[in-house]
């Protein structure tokens, strides 16, 4: 029986504010999964805290809504234990670039095969409007009542420096392109980050119209394997590019772990796993 979009929806109705960009993200995820025909039971969605962290509630997957900033290492544990699963980590700009920012570097070094949806609305929306690492300089927020005085974090150059093996930026409102990018990210072997700009209606720093004006797809001939070109385009603010900035193939964490098992058992035990008896006797 052919799967329907409905198969990816949980019984829980989304609770985001009307007009929130996250609706577009959710719809695109469902569409991408349907297009790729991935069985819902083989999908694990791990999310952090914030508006975007709620995404896991609305998907009919094995869903884990964890703590603030720890979606990536939690998803890493799932994928390392069961490589056959399709694993998402989901979080916002505060979750992923603030409190949990330190984890991305190491997940990237391991190249764990998860798809990380980093949904940026430039504000802490759930807690009603505090400064996030991507809030623009000078903007007034609840915790920057006299204007944000810190520089804005540029996420894509950081991911490039970490050598995340698949890096894309997308407009959350443009579900058609986002779906395409998500399908590529999910199919990518290794760690993929889809950095999604998702306007907040309640504390509007980004708006759909404004986004449309400054966003522009990367040139058709953008070389995905060229980190320096990607870096240059990642720093561009007029226009802000969308699309896949960078994609390279390298061994995944799952492969690396499997290789250690293979190497050790072949070298030391003729290819078989050690018996418990042999393990204990090696301490005699």
């Amino acid at each position: 029986m052919k799967r329907q979009l409905q198969d990816y929806k949980s019984v829980i109705e989304p609770v985001w504010c009307p007009g929130c960009g996250d609706y577009g993200v959710l719809a695109s995820v469902e569409k991408a999964l349907l297009n790729l025909d991935i069985a819902p039971e083989n999908i694990v969605t791990v999310s952090g805290i914030g508006c975007s962290g709620r995404l896991s509630h609305f998907l009919n997957t094995y869903s884990l809504h964890g703590t603030h900033g720890r979606a990536v290492p939690t998803a890493l544990g799932v994928k390392a234990a069961h490589p056959e699963l399709t694993v998402f980590a989901v979080g916002g700009d505060g979750d992923g670039l603030g409190i949990g920012g330190g984890h991305i570097a190491h997940a990237a070094r391991k190249n764990v095969g998860i798809t990380y949806l980093l949904i940026d609305n430039q504000i802490y929306g759930l807690t009603k409007g505090q400064t996030s690492p991507t809030s623009p300089l000078g903007v007034k927020t609840k915790t920057s009542p006299h204007g944000v005085f810190e520089d804005t974090l540029a996420a894509i150059p950081i991911f490039l420096a970490y050598d995340v093996s698949f890096i894309a930026r997308a407009n959350g409102v443009d579900t058609k392109s986002l779906t395409q990018i998500l399908m590529e990210a999910i199919s990518h072997k290794g760690m993929s980050i889809v950095y999604i700009l998702s306007p907040c209606r309640t504390f509007p720093l980004l708006d759909s119209k404004g986004l449309k004006a400054i966003l522009q797809p990367l040139p058709e001939d953008h070389p995905r394997g060229d980190k320096l070109v990607a870096m240059e385009r990642a720093y561009s603010d007029k226009p802000i590019y969308t699309g896949v900035f960078y994609q390279v193939q390298k061994p995944t964490l799952e492969d690396r772990l499997q290789n250690v098992i293979k190497k050790v058992c072949e070298k030391e035990n003729g290819g078989d796993n050690y018996s418990l008896d042999k393990v204990l006797k090696s301490f005699a």
Binding site: S10, I12, A39, P40, E41, N42, I43, V44, V46, S56, H57, N60, T61, Y62, S63, L64, H65, G66, T67, R70, P73, T74, A75, L76, G77, V78, K79, A80, A81, H82, E84, L85, G102, H103, A105, H106, K110, L253, L257, V260, I261, K263, V264, C265, E268, N269, N273, Y274, L276, D277, V279, L280, K281, F283, A284
Partner: protein, 611 residues
């Protein structure tokens, strides 16, 4: 243990002390290995300085016919590499004991009541190898001669240990070994005791540390996932598991910090794997939020805290029992978890298996509290008979699941959901024992939402007052389920029913308290000794049974404030006399005995006054 029967039974302790980086500990461990291949039991105790080189470092090896419970109170042989080793340790040498020292490094006092054997370690090694390195191997040679170990046995040991380091290293070490061995012969040292190899020993016994025992317990329990971050003194568990996991088809990953480590374990457990993370106090603190999450998600996993001296960076290489309160209560809100405290190296193996069984059975995190002294202690442990190992369904709670032993080891499987019964599946179904069915990813129709937000039985977030109360009850009911099962176990205490004094300890002090009890019995003082392995939830009826009829309770702990005592006082309304040791080193049987003797006098006087 007076002078007259000094050598009459096999029970002696050797201490080697010197500068960190001089190889004191590796020499001691090699000697312990020789001793373990005999018919005797071996027990080691190590202190490292926190620095890689420099600072005082020592190893103590106790050798005995039959089981050994503690490192003992005093030593029979002291090998002092330098003045500091001598100054710090000479008070522990028994009258008539033997001192082996380097006369170029150590000035000894006159009138020392000891047999003194000078040996110029530095000179011997420089003459033999042209370098100052290898004093430790000279000492090993000398010790080998003193205990009648055949030279070839030591030679083989050196080859095994340094084999991978190439020809020159082996050659120099063998020269150093020979120099030490011959020096004993040339100076006509009287061999004290012959350590004769016993072929059976290698078949039936492992010589392992408490840390290794935890790692082996995890492997035996079917754990195939470890995520961790190095931290003294828990690192050896992680190192051992990173070596063993791939051998048994498992996965070992070093993460960027303790938060990520426990996160990865939560992920692995959610995916259906048995997972463990080893850490020490500061790491456990970082894990607090994820520990809470694991309790809320009702996921089985095991955390080992090898406690060290705190607070803050504290004493990374020293021992302390000071994380108990944090382990029991240390998270926001109230999140049930189980705390186990192994009491010996062998017990580390079995309690780790038990931790996994309880975690699977109750779907919650289980913390194992060991400490530096037990983690680095090595002891001969009988290899369990693996034909006694059986896998059972996690839902079948039997007494055996709770106490694995060499005679019977049950390994709990995850409570799996019957795919036929998925209709109306509720992941957090409120059941009579609080434990709900669980599905793992891959099972069609078993998808569920699990989160740190308060939720209803399906997993959906809910902030209703009734729901919060209901789910709090449900989660805590699982602790009740466990403590009800524990009440059925035979009482975990030792000693005379007639005793008026009761001693309560936990964790690594068990052996020292037991030896103190034997010492006290010789002097006519009776006490009984409770040493719970499950510290939380504490089986209350069992404790009350122990307390019944006692005139005085004494609590022995290696911490400053008496953490377990607070717990016992609050729960049972007793007023114990507390013996604390907060010096970074383990309490000795003699220290405990001295405390108990004082109490015994008071208790006796009261008795007399009443009469």
């Amino acid at each position: 243990m007076d002078n007259s029967n000094y050598h009459s039974e096999v029970d002696f302790a050797i201490r080697i002390g010197g500068e960190g980086g001089e190889g004191v500990i590796s020499a001691g461990e090699l000697f312990a290995q020789v001793a373990a291949r005999t018919a005797y039991h071996v027990f080691t105790y190590i202190t490292y300085p926190a620095e890689i080189k420099g600072g005082f470092s020592m190893i103590q090896i106790r050798i005995r016919e039959g089981k050994i419970y503690s490192m003992g109170s005093a030593i029979d042989y002291l090998i002092a590499f330098n003045q500091q080793a001598y100054d710090t340790t000479i008070k522990d040498l028994k009258p008539g004991g033997m001192l082996i020292y380097d006369p170029d490094e150590v000035k000894i006092e006159n009138n020392l009541k000891a047999e003194c054997y000078p040996i110029k370690l530095t000179k011997l090694v420089t003459d033999a190898t042209g370098s100052k390195l290898g004093k430790n191997v000279v000492a090993l040679g000398a010790l080998g001669h003193l205990f009648g170990v055949e030279f070839y046995v030591l030679e083989q040991l050196i080859k095994d240990r340094y084999g991978s380091k190439g020809g020159d290293v082996i050659k120099n070490n063998l020269n150093a070994l020979k120099a030490g061995y011959s020096s004993g012969e040339a100076n006509k040292w009287k061999p004290k005791f012959k350590l004769v190899a016993d072929a059976q020993a290698k078949e039936h016994y492992m010589l392992i540390s408490g840390n290794e025992a935890v790692a082996l317990g995890a492997i035996a329990a079917g754990c195939r996932f470890v995520a961790g971050y190095p931290i003294t003194p828990a690192t050896p568990i992680f190192e051992t598991l990173t070596d063993l996991m791939p051998k048994v088809g498992g996965r070992a990953i070093q993460l960027e910090d303790e938060i990520a480590s426990l996160s990865a374990c939560i992920g692995a457990s959610f995916a259906g794997e048995k997972a463990i993370t080893p850490t020490s106090g500061p790491g456990l603190q970082l894990m607090g939020e994820q520990l809470n999450l694991a309790s809320m998600l009702e996921l089985p996993l095991v955390i080992v805290d090898v406690q060290r001296g705190g607070p803050s960076t504290g004493l990374p290489t020293k021992t302390e029992q000071s994380d108990l309160k944090f382990a029991i209560y240390g998270t926001s809100g109230e999140a049930p978890r189980v705390i186990l405290a192994p009491s010996s190296v062998e017990d580390c193996f079995y309690q780790t298996i038990r931790a996994f069984n309880i975690a699977e059975r109750l779907q919650m995190p289980v913390l194992i509290l060991t400490d530096q002294s037990i983690g680095y202690r090595k002891a001969t442990v009988r290899i369990p008979d693996l034909s006694k190992l059986v896998e059972v369904d996690g839902s079948k709670l039997t007494d055996e699941i709770l106490i694995p032993s060499p005679e019977k080891i049950e390994i709990a499987r995850r409570i799996e959901m019957d795919p036929e019964k998925l209709n109306g599946y509720k992941r957090f179904l409120d059941t009579t024992d609080g434990v709900s069915p669980i599905t793992t990813p891959g099972l069609a129709g078993g998808q569920y939402l699990s989160g740190g937000l308060e939720h209803d039985e399906t997993g959906k977030a809910s902030y209703l007052p009734d729901m919060h109360l209901k789910m709090m009850r449900k989660r805590f009911k699982k602790l009740e389920t466990l403590s009800n099962a524990l009440e059925k176990n035979p009482p975990e205490y030792e000693g005379s029913e007639d005793a008026k004094i009761g001693v309560i300890g936990w964790g690594s002090t068990e052996g020292a308290i037991r030896e103190a009890r034997l010492l006290a019995e010789q002097r006519g003082i009776l006490f009984r000794h409770l040493h719970p392995k499950v510290l939380s939830p504490l089986p209350e009826r069992q404790v009350r049974h122990f307390l019944a009829g006692l005139k005085q309770v004494i609590m022995v702990e290696e911490n400053f404030t008496g953490q377990f005592a607070h717990f016992i006082k609050a729960k049972f309304g007793v007023k114990p006399i507390e013996i604390h040791k907060s010096e970074g080193v383990p309490i000795t049987p003699e220290e405990i005995f001295n405390g108990i003797e004082k109490v015994a006098r008071i208790v006796d006087e009261t008795t007399i006054a009443r009469l």
